[in-house]
């Protein structure tokens, strides 16, 4: 098994070197103007109303892939929370055993609202500037993680977070259904008014979807952290 993976990796790398070095397997690449990218650049302002074309691609042109990516994260989070309880060998003990001391604890609590604020800003401006639901959600989760790292006293309202996570997931699908049963008759069609191009309230459903994605990402990551913390304290108790 290990040998097979080794052979696959080495073989792949050798293949890569040969390909690059000798210019084998070269094929005519489509010119920039010929590919789908130029069509998207041309149609994006009218179709999506988003000033950030990358966001338009992620949420609208390939919104179905984004739903899939959210599901990948959901599945991974489920997997971690199903399997975290099996960690019994004190793997996480060091991480959660330390009491960070008063300065770090107070400092992390003071930082919490500001980190969350930055996260929300990044989420809400996803259709205007780089950022959006995924990085924004991670930043919001980071705020909680910093507090957990410095003290073990933070109690996480797990029930509320689970509800938020489910509602966000169902909300994404519900927006898709609105499109399906609207005159556009297409799943995830952007039927909301586009607003003034470049303003905060523009781009139709894109900010809504990004807010939903952020809630889902943040609640899933916070869930993972709290599960690992619980596993960490369980293994600590087992060690004692």
């Amino acid at each position: 098994m290990r040998k097979l993976i080794g052979i696959l990796l080495i073989g792949g790398f050798a293949f890569y070197l040969i390909t690059v070095g000798m210019g084998l397997f070269s094929a005519e690449s489509r010119s920039e103007l010929d590919s789908v990218g130029s069509e998207i650049l041309a149609t994006s302002p009218d179709l999506s109303g988003a000033a950030n074309t990358v966001t338009a691609v992620v949420v609208q042109y390939r919104g179905f892939d984004t739903l899939g990516e959210v599901t990948v994260l959901f599945a991974s989070a489920l997997g971690v929370s199903m399997l975290a309880m099996a960690i019994r060998d004190g793997l996480l003990q060091d991480l959660f055993d330390d009491d960070g001391g008063f300065v770090l604890q107070a400092g992390s609590l003071a930082l919490l609202p500001f980190i969350v604020l930055v996260g929300i800003y990044i989420v809400l401006h996803g259709h205007l500037s780089p950022g959006g639901g995924f990085p924004g959600g991670v930043i919001i989760a980071t705020a909680v993680f910093v507090v957990i790292l410095t003290s073990k006293t933070l109690s996480i309202p797990r029930g509320l977070i689970n509800v938020l996570e489910t509602l966000a997931g169902l909300g994404f699908l519900a927006i898709g259904f609105v499109g399906l049963y609207s005159p556009a008759q297409s799943f995830l069609a952007n039927i909301l008014p586009k607003g003034e191009f470049g303003s905060l309230l523009s781009a139709g459903f894109i900010p809504v979807i990004y807010a939903i994605v952020a809630i889902k990402v943040a609640s899933e990551l916070i869930n993972i952290i709290s599960k690992l913390t619980a596993a960490g304290s369980a293994s600590r108790e087992a060690a004692e």
């Binding site: 005519e28 489509r30 390939r62 179905f64 899939g68 489920l78 169902l170």
Partner: protein
């Protein structure tokens, strides 16, 4: 309007909801209802007129910019197979899963696996295929590890390593395809690759086939299968062996025949199939644990389907598809019953099951029927499908067809000997008294019996379905 998109959205929504359900009963009922709704939906599409495939675009943006899904006769038939066997497995899990465990997450992951299965079946966009492939892989890793034993963690890790390498291969292949086509829609890529340099297409195709082939358990990249399918909970083994590898195989072949049609992949795939049959059946013959035997047998059976599907004739494709349906039924029966053997005796090796056939009369009969059909004994479904494969090979005139017939016959002999060995043990006198030591009811619980009975009906009467099984592998 009933949109094909419901196949993906309904199980996804159910999975999101299931996590919230704390009580096991609620999660079970929700999963069961979802399975039933999907079966009804699939029946609707199976009965619908699909002489021209029904396409839907996402977000109202047509390809090449957007994503398109398409429902054709093959997809409808496979969707029916997936949803019905998913429903029966959920029914089986009602009594099989241990009641003290938190089951909601287990059902949620199973529903995600089903959503991803429908996704890779319906999508006509290469990157969208990759996304659903990832969901399929991740949920499989989780389900394989879900018994939380050392062996299942090891199997899951092995699967995860190979699967990750496979996804990387696929991603590189998609990148190479995008480079020449400037589009991710399968039909555009097929056109662009048709005009591209042959060696370039070969490279792309090889990377794609190896990547996707890991999930389809094709010969050189199937080393994860015996561990994963034998250490997973039996309901999950039935799902993984019953439709996941077959589905990956069909998607792989559909893309090989359409997108990579300018290179002849059929010949190498045919020889890989024969190697898979030989190695799978020989290894299965040497096993002492029932579930490992069945897992290795799946390896051989996938080879058998791949051989038939790559013969290059219409008869071959029909035979391969029919055998796929038969294998879903037969292997599900055997794995589901093996699960109860383990629950009732607490042991995994075949020799501990001596006399079980008499103590579990109904279960024993179902097991024998499943085993006979897998071997290909008339008048069961398996006889017709194997016979069709052999006769298709004989008239195909394809390279290696006669070698294939010899290998299949040898495989059948091996298969018969190891499966009959199990059956003989089931009906022999218990020597060591280990089955007598078990108190209480031995027969499977009612939901499990009904589920296995459903698969048994398929295996007995499947030959009447033969004219309904489509074989067109078009985009």
């Amino acid at each position: 309007m009933v949109s094909p998109i419901l196949f993906i959205v309904v199980p996804l929504a159910a999975a999101f909801l299931t996590v919230l359900v704390n009580r096991n009963a609620g999660a079970r009922i929700l999963a069961l209802l979802t399975g039933f709704a999907l079966s009804a939906l699939a029946w609707f599409w199976f009965r619908a007129d699909l002489s021209t495939p029904v396409s839907v675009v996402i977000a109202g943006i047509a390809p090449p910019m957007g994503i398109q899904l398409s429902m054709d006769r093959l997809s409808a038939a496979l969707a029916l197979l997936i949803s019905v066997s998913g429903f029966l497995v959920i029914l089986y899990s009602q009594s099989y899963l241990k009641s003290e465990e938190a089951q909601s997450k287990h059902y949620a992951v199973l529903l995600l696996l089903m959503a991803a299965s429908f996704g890779i079946l319906l999508t006509r966009d290469l990157f969208n295929l990759f996304v659903f492939y990832e969901i399929l892989c991740i949920s499989s890793y989780i389900l394989v590890a879900s018994e939380e034993t050392k062996a299942s963690f090891e199997a899951s890790l092995k699967y995860l390593l190979l699967g990750s390498v496979g996804s990387l291969f696929m991603l590189v292949a998609i990148g190479l395809a995008y480079r020449v086509s400037g589009s991710l829609a399968m039909s555009d890529i097929a056109q662009a690759l048709g005009e591209a340099d042959l060696s370039y297409v070969m490279l792309t195709a090889a990377l794609f086939v190896l990547g996707m082939g890991i999930e389809a358990a094709i010969f050189p990249v199937n080393t994860w299968l015996p561990d994963a399918h034998s250490t997973a909970p039996s309901s999950i083994s039935a799902v993984l062996s019953g439709f996941v590898i077959e589905l990956a195989l069909i998607v792989l072949l559909r893309i090989s025949m359409t997108v990579f049609s300018s290179v002849n992949l059929m010949l190498p795939l045919r020889y890989m199939a024969l190697a898979g049959i030989l190695i799978g059946e020989l290894a299965a013959f040497g096993q002492t644990e029932l579930k490992r035997t069945l897992a290795y047998s799946s390896m051989g059976q996938v080879g058998l389907m791949l051989f038939a599907l790559t013969l290059g004739t219409e008869a071959g494709r029909q035979a391969g598809m029919a055998h796929l349906v038969m294998h879903t039924g037969a292997k599900s029966i055997l794995f589901l019953i093996a699960g109860y053997f383990i629950v009732r005796t607490g042991k995994r090796d075949i020799k501990s099951y001596s006399g079980l056939g008499r103590r579990m009369p109904l279960t024993g009969v179902f097991f024998v029927i499943g085993a006979l059909s897998l071997v290909g004994v008339p008048p069961l479904f398996g006889f017709f499908t194997k016979f069709k494969i052999l006769s298709a090979a004989a008239v195909s005139g394809a390279t290696g067809a006669w070698l294939g017939i010899a290998v299949i016959l040898l495989g059948t002999v091996l298969e018969a000997s190891y499966l009959f060995r199990v059956v003989r043990t089931l009906y022999s006198d218990p020597e060591t008294g280990n089955t007598r030591a078990v108190k209480g009811r031995m027969e499977m619980d009612v939901p499990a019996l009904i589920a296995v009975f459903g698969f048994t009906l398929l295996v007995i009467f499947g030959s009447f379905l033969l004219p309904l099984i489509p074989s067109g592998l078009a985009l």
